[in-house]
C-alpha cells in the first residue's frame, strides 16, 4: 500500500429520482372522486331531510329550507352588505389582535423580563370570557366600530401570543449552534431562524383565530344591535320579530364566511409551508 494514483470521491450511490419539487399527495384521492364526497353528501341529505321534517311540524323551531333560500335570493344585498360589515370588523380586529400578539411574542422571546411580567396577565385575559367585555366596551366606545374591533382583537390575541412564543423557541439546537459559530447577531438569528421556524405555529394559530374573530364580531354586534349593521344585528333584529328565515340565512352567511377564512389560511399555509411536514403528510 504505497503511492497510488489518488483515488477521488466515490460518488454516493445514485438513488431513484428524488420526488418532484412539490410532490403531489399520493394515496389521496382527488376531491372529485365519488368516494371522496359521497359520504358527506349522504349526511348532508340526511340532515336536510331531518330539518324539513322538524320545520313542517314546528315552524317556530326551524324555518322551511325553502324560505331560507327565498330570503337569501330575494334580498341578497342585505346579506352581502351586512356580511361585509361583519367580515370587515372581524378582519380588522384579527389584524390588530394577532399583529400585536406577534410583536409582543417577539419582544417576550428576546427580553425574558417582559415575558415574566406580562405572561400572567395574558393568561388571565385568556380565561376571562372576553365576550362579557362587550357591553362595557360599548359604554366606553359608543355604538361605532371601535368596541366590536376591540372585542375581536382581544379574542384573537392570546392564541397567537402563545403559539408564536412557542414557535420562536422551537429552533433545533444544532441549527442554533451553526448560527452561533458564525457569530450571527441576535437580530440575524431572529430574522433568519426564529421567525421562519415559528411560521407553522403562527399559521396554526391563525387557523384557530380567524374563525374566532367572526365570533367576536357577531357577539359585539348583538350587544350594539339596532344601531349599526352586521350579520349579528340582522340576527338579533330578525329573532325579535320571529323572522326565523332571516336568522338562518344570516347564520348560513356566517358559516360561509368561516369557511372562506379557513380556506384562506389553508391556501397561505400551502404556499408558505411547502417545506414543512404538515404539508406532505400523505407523501411520506
Amino acid at each position: 500500500m504505497t503511492t497510488q494514483t489518488p483515488a477521488r470521491t466515490v460518488p454516493a450511490p445514485s438513488r431513484p429520482a428524488p420526488p418532484a419539487r412539490r410532490p403531489r399527495r399520493r394515496g389521496n384521492r382527488s376531491p372529485f372522486h365519488p368516494a371522496t364526497w359521497t359520504p358527506a353528501v349522504a349526511v348532508l341529505l340526511l340532515l336536510g331531510a331531518a330539518w324539513t321534517a322538524v320545520a313542517a311540524e314546528h315552524p317556530y323551531i326551524l324555518p322551511e329550507l325553502g324560505e331560507v333560500g327565498t330570503a337569501l335570493v330575494t334580498s341578497p344585498l342585505v346579506f352581502l352588505e351586512n356580511a361585509w360589515r361583519t367580515l370587515r370588523i372581524a378582519l380588522l380586529g384579527a389584524l390588530i389582535g394577532a399583529g400585536s400578539a406577534f410583536v409582543l411574542a417577539l419582544v417576550m422571546s428576546e427580553i425574558p423580563v417582559v415575558r415574566r411580567a406580562l405572561m400572567p396577565f395574558a393568561v388571565v385575559l385568556n380565561v376571562t370570557p372576553v365576550v362579557a367585555l362587550a357591553p362595557p366596551l360599548v359604554v366606553a366606545f359608543g355604538f361605532g366600530m371601535t368596541p366590536k374591533v376591540v372585542v375581536t382583537a382581544i379574542i384573537t390575541f392570546f392564541p397567537v401570543l402563545i403559539n408564536v412564543a412557542t414557535g420562536l423557541r422551537s429552533v433545533p439546537p444544532p441549527v442554533l449552534h451553526v448560527f452561533e459559530t458564525l457569530h450571527a447577531s441576535r437580530l440575524e438569528v431572529l430574522l433568519r431562524l426564529r421567525i421562519p421556524s415559528s411560521l407553522p405555529y403562527t399559521l396554526a394559530a391563525l387557523r384557530v383565530v380567524l374563525p374566532l374573530s367572526i365570533v367576536g364580531a357577531v357577539v359585539a354586534e348583538f350587544v350594539t344591535a339596532g344601531s349599526s349593521g352586521g350579520l349579528g344585528t340582522v340576527i338579533s333584529n330578525a329573532a325579535s320579530t320571529a323572522r326565523l328565515d332571516f336568522v338562518y340565512s344570516a347564520i348560513f352567511c356566517l358559516a360561509a364566511l368561516g369557511v372562506l377564512l379557513l380556506a384562506l389560511v389553508t391556501a397561505i399555509e400551502h404556499r408558505l409551508l411547502f417545506w414543512h411536514e404538515s404539508q406532505r403528510r400523505a407523501s411520506s
Binding site: 500500500m1 504505497t2 503511492t3 497510488q4 489518488p6 483515488a7 477521488r8 470521491t9 466515490v10 460518488p11 454516493a12 450511490p13 438513488r15 428524488p18 420526488p19 419539487r21 433545533p172 444544532p174 441549527v175 449552534h177 451553526v178 448560527f179 452561533e180 459559530t181 458564525l182 457569530h183 450571527a184 447577531s185 440575524e188 433568519r192 431562524l193 421562519p196 411560521l199 411547502f274 417545506w275 414543512h276 406532505r280
Partner: protein, 279 residues
C-alpha cells in the same frame, strides 16, 4: 495513562495550534467529582485531521463545543491559533457540521450553502461560490432543491459544503456521518478527505467509529469517560491521499486493532457508567 499526551504539536508556536491546557468542565447539576472534562490538555497542529473517539460520556462532544466557543469551562485554557474560540467565530473562521445536517428547510440547497455569507457580514470574509461548492460535493444539479427532497447523505453533503464555504481555518464535525448507511458513509468519508486536502484546513472530528477515525485522521485522540480524560493520542502513519484500496488494506486493519485495544483500556480506566448494572 499519560496525563500530558504528546503529539507532533509540541514544538509549534501557539498561533499554529488549537491548544487546550488543563481544561476542566463540570455541567451544572453534574457530579463535581466526575467532571465532563478533567484537566484535558491537547495540541492540534494546523492543517491536521484529528479524530476524538471514546465511550459515551467521555466528553468528546463537549471538547468539540468548547473549541467551537459554544460552551464555557470551569478552569484551564482553550485557544485556537493564538486567539479565543469566540474571536475565531466572530471572524467566521470556524465551520461546524453537527450530527444532524441542521439545514434551513425553507431555503433551497444553494441558499443554504450561501447562508454563512449572508450572516455576520462584518467579518468581511469572502466565501466560495455556492455552485463550485455544490460541484465539489457532487450535487451540482441539485442547487434548486429543498432539503426535504434530498436523502440523508445528500443533506449531510450540503451541510459539509456549507461549512467549507467560508474557507474556515477550523472545521469541527460532531459525528456527521453517524446517521448514514455504511456505503454512503464510506463514500462521504473519501469525499471529505478530498475536500480537506484541497482546502488545507484543520479538522476536529468526533466519531464513534474506529474505522472512520482510522480512515480519516492524522491523529486519533482516545478518551476515557467519568471523568472525561484524554487516554492516549495515536498517530496514524498511513499515506495520503487515502483511497478505497488503502482503506481495505492490512495496514489499515492493524491500525484499527491498535485503536480498539486503546479504547478497551480506556474503557477500563474510566468508571462504569451509572446506568449499567454490574453483572
Amino acid at each position: 495513562m499519560t496525563p500530558f499526551p504528546t503529539n507532533s504539536g509540541e514544538s509549534r508556536p501557539a498561533s499554529d495550534l488549537i491548544r487546550v491546557r488543563d481544561l476542566t468542565k463540570t455541567y451544572a447539576g453534574g457530579d463535581p467529582s466526575r467532571p465532563a472534562l478533567d484537566r484535558v490538555s491537547i495540541d492540534i497542529p494546523r492543517r491536521h485531521f484529528v479524530s476524538l473517539i471514546g465511550p459515551s460520556g467521555c466528553g468528546k462532544s463537549t471538547l468539540l463545543r468548547v473549541i467551537a466557543g459554544l460552551e464555557g469551562y470551569d478552569s484551564g485554557e482553550a485557544t485556537v491559533f493564538g486567539t479565543s474560540p469566540k474571536a475565531m467565530c466572530a471572524n467566521k473562521a470556524v465551520g461546524l457540521v453537527p450530527q444532524t445536517p441542521a439545514l434551513l428547510p425553507w431555503k433551497n440547497v444553494r441558499r443554504n450553502i450561501a447562508l454563512p455569507q449572508k450572516v455576520n457580514r462584518r467579518a468581511g470574509r469572502g466565501g466560495e461560490d455556492p455552485d463550485d461548492l455544490l460541484r465539489m460535493v457532487g450535487l451540482g444539479e441539485l442547487g434548486h432543491r429543498y432539503p426535504h427532497e434530498l436523502s440523508g447523505g445528500q443533506q449531510q453533503r450540503v451541510a459539509i459544503a456549507r461549512a467549507f464555504g467560508m474557507r474556515p481555518e477550523v472545521l469541527l464535525m460532531d459525528e456527521p456521518f453517524s446517521a448514514l448507511d455504511e456505503f454512503t458513509r464510506e463514500s462521504l468519508q473519501l469525499q471529505l478527505l478530498a475536500m480537506w486536502e484541497r482546502m488545507a484546513t484543520t479538522v476536529v472530528f468526533v466519531t464513534h467509529s474506529v474505522r472512520e477515525a482510522v480512515t480519516l485522521s492524522d491523529e486519533i485522540v482516545v478518551m476515557s469517560a467519568r471523568p472525561g480524560r484524554i487516554h492516549e493520542v495515536l498517530p496514524v502513519d498511513l499515506p495520503r491521499p487515502r483511497d478505497t484500496a488503502l482503506v481495505n488494506s492490512p495496514r489499515m486493519h492493524a491500525m484499527e486493532d491498535r485503536v480498539r485495544a486503546s479504547l478497551e483500556s480506556a474503557w477500563q480506566a474510566g468508571a462504569a457508567p451509572d446506568d449499567l448494572v454490574a453483572l
